[in-house]
Structure formats: structure tokens, C-alpha cells
């Protein structure tokens, strides 16, 4: 096989591999940082440690935005928007220091997180 023919075959194969990597980005590039922040935040809320929970939510939001940039090309828009909306609601219930609602909202955030890239 001469080099021209090899390139003609390898180029589309390389392109398809690249496309698959981009499309599978939600599974491979979402990482564990957001999940760990959700667990820490859940602990703070359960212990009604509201100052720490407010700071932790900010960290969670920053980490989530970072993950969105990595997974946006393969994930569903609704998956991303649902989690972002849930985080916005969580901000409100933490400000109101409403433990029950905060825990319910955190469970929903966790559910959306696990659904991404599944």
C-alpha cells in the first residue's frame, strides 16, 4: 500500500475516532470533582452548617461550569440546563437555610449528574 493510499484510508478512520471521542466526552471527561462537591455539600446541609454550605455551593457551581465546557459537545442540552436550574434553586434554599428543601434539591442535582453521559 503506497503512502497516498494509506493516508486516504487513515484520514477518515482518524476523523471518526476524533468524532467518537468528542461525542463520548460526557462519559470520559466529566470527572469526579462535581460528585465529590455534591457529597460534601450534602454533609454540610445535613449538619446545618450554612456558612460552609454557601461557600461549598460556590465551589460546586465553578466546578460545574468547568465540566460543562468539557462535555457540552456530546451531552444533551436539557441534561445540562436541568442541573444548572437545580443549582440555582439550591442557592435559594440554602440562603433560606431550609434543610429539607436543600436535601431534596441536592438529591435532584445528584440524579442529573449521574444521568449525564450514561
Amino acid at each position: 500500500m503506497n503512502s497516498e493510499k494509506a493516508v486516504a484510508y487513515l484520514l477518515p478512520i482518524a476523523a471518526i475516532i476524533l468524532f467518537l471521542v468528542i461525542m463520548l466526552s460526557p462519559s470520559y471527561f466529566k470527572g469526579q470533582d462535581v460528585h465529590q462537591e455534591i457529597n460534601r455539600l450534602t454533609r454540610d446541609v445535613a449538619e446545618e452548617n450554612w456558612d460552609s454550605a454557601t461557600a461549598r455551593l460556590l465551589l460546586l457551581d465553578i466546578e460545574w461550569q468547568r465540566v460543562v465546557n468539557r462535555i457540552q459537545f456530546g451531552a444533551e442540552r436539557e441534561e445540562i440546563n436541568s442541573l444548572s436550574r437545580s443549582l440555582a434553586r439550591l442557592q435559594g434554599v440554602i440562603n433560606a437555610e431550609d434543610k429539607d428543601s436543600a436535601l431534596a434539591e441536592l438529591a435532584e442535582v445528584n440524579y442529573y449528574w449521574l444521568a449525564i453521559g450514561r
Binding site: 471518526i16 468524532f19 460543562v68 444533551e76
Partner: protein, 245 residues
């Protein structure tokens, strides 16, 4: 989430995937497509469009759909090439609608093929008198193939026992101002010969030439970028000064 950026990336994925997949499916002229091929083409295009712009679905699921559809079409292509029976079953068969000059009304009725359509397709082949037709076959791609009665067929050199010169493929020697050395070598000529021919036609450099072709009779056709036409024909309908008033 930057939706514009996502659409750009997904569009590029859809575009190049479609390019790769259509190359796998091979060449087939649009005019040769059967109705089933046509619908397949539309569906594959529609899935690709959805992959590019429907952000409410995962890119991978759309891409897999595109792959499965292309794979199914490819598999059918392979099967129909290998089995004539399956090919006939899937694509249908050509139907004779005029046999020995007689219209096959029962066949046409079965195919829901109207007389007006038959006459229209004959007219498209410059046949206005149906009595000139010996056979007409309705092909699977919807086109009509016509065999005229022998008395209405054009005279060929063979009919007149005239000997003709061999005519094969012309070799492109210059394309877009670039000399194609490979083709020159194939016809056992060299650059010096080509430059000599160009100079004889008042051309100093191959870059002045858009196309140079050598036919099997050894005649060189040259088309320059700069065309000097005394009275260029204008077929544009956008503005005609004579009818402008």
C-alpha cells in the same frame, strides 16, 4: 453552555461523517436512484441535520442512528449485488410497457402508470409518434428506455460500410495551468514537445492555459484563460437592452 460553538462542532461532525459515509456507499447518480434509494438518502440527510442542530439529543445517539442507517443501506447494496433474486425483490424489475409496437395496458394499470406519463416520457426522448416505437421498458429508476423500430433508427457508419478511426479517451496535459507530467509520460511525450506546441499557438507559459487535451488522433485542444471572442453570445434574461424599453 455555548450553543453556537456546540452547533459549529456538531455541524462539522455531521458534515464530515456524511462525507465519509457517502463515500463508503459509493457513486450513484441521482437520476439512477430507485425510489427506495431516494428515501434512504433523505432519511440519512435528515438524521445528519438533526445531529448538527438538535441539541436536545445526545450527539452520539444521532451519530449511531446515522451509522446504522448507512450500514443497512451498505448491507443491502452488497446483498443485491450478490443475489439477483434479492435485487429484483428489493428494487423491483424493469417492465415492458410497449412490446412489438403494442401498448401493454394491463401491465401499465398494474403499475399505476398512466398513458399521459408514457407519452410524456416518449416526448422527452424526442418521440412524438408512438408508431415509431418497437419496445419501451419502464426501468426501476422510473426512466423509460426506448428501442425504435429499425426503420426509424439513425444510420451509422457501419450501416454505410464506412471505416472509422479509433477513438479513445483524451489525455489531459494541462489542467488549471499545471502540466500533468504523468499523463504526458503515458502518451510518450515530454515537456519540450508540449512547450513547442504551446509556442506554436502563441502561448509562452503553461500557466496561461486552462485546459489542454490530446485526443487519440494526436490533435491538441487548448483553451486559454483569456478568451478573445469577437461577438460573445449573451443568453442572460436578466437584462436585455433591446427589450428594456
Amino acid at each position: 453552555m455555548n450553543e453556537v460553538l456546540v452547533v459549529i462542532v456538531r455541524s462539522l461532525i455531521a458534515f464530515f461523517t456524511l462525507l465519509i459515509f457517502t463515500r463508503i456507499l459509493g457513486k450513484q447518480e441521482v437520476s439512477q436512484l430507485t425510489f427506495f434509494d431516494y428515501i434512504n438518502g433523505i432519511t440519512i440527510g435528515s438524521i445528519a441535520a438533526s445531529l448538527a442542530t438538535n441539541l436536545n439529543s445526545r450527539a452520539l445517539t444521532e451519530w449511531v442512528g446515522l451509522g446504522v442507517w448507512t450500514g443497512a443501506v451498505f448491507a443491502l447494496q452488497v446483498i443485491t449485488v450478490k443475489s439477483r433474486y434479492i435485487s429484483k425483490y428489493i428494487n423491483g424489475e424493469p417492465i415492458v410497457v410497449i412490446m412489438n409496437g403494442k401498448i401493454m395496458e394491463a401491465t401499465m394499470k398494474k403499475m399505476r402508470y398512466q398513458m399521459s406519463e408514457l407519452l410524456e416520457q416518449l416526448r422527452e426522448k424526442s418521440i412524438f409518434d408512438i408508431s415509431q416505437v418497437e419496445f419501451a421498458v419502464f426501468e426501476v429508476n422510473g426512466k423509460l428506455s426506448v428501442l425504435k423500430k429499425s426503420s426509424y433508427q439513425p444510420v451509422t457508419p457501419k450501416n454505410l460500410n464506412i471505416s472509422t478511426d479509433y477513438e479513445g479517451l483524451s489525455a489531459e496535459l494541462i489542467y488549471n495551468g499545471v502540466v500533468i507530467e504523468q499523463n504526458l509520460n503515458q502518451v510518450n511525450l515530454d515537456r519540450n514537445w508540449l512547450e513547442q506546441q504551446l509556442r506554436a499557438n502563441g502561448i509562452n507559459d503553461p500557466s496561461e492555459v486552462m485546459l489542454a487535451q490530446l485526443n487519440t488522433q494526436g490533435e491538441l485542444y487548448i483553451d486559454k484563460y483569456r478568451d478573445y471572442v469577437a461577438n460573445p453570445a449573451d443568453i442572460s434574461e436578466r437584462y436585455n437592452p433591446k427589450e428594456g424599453q
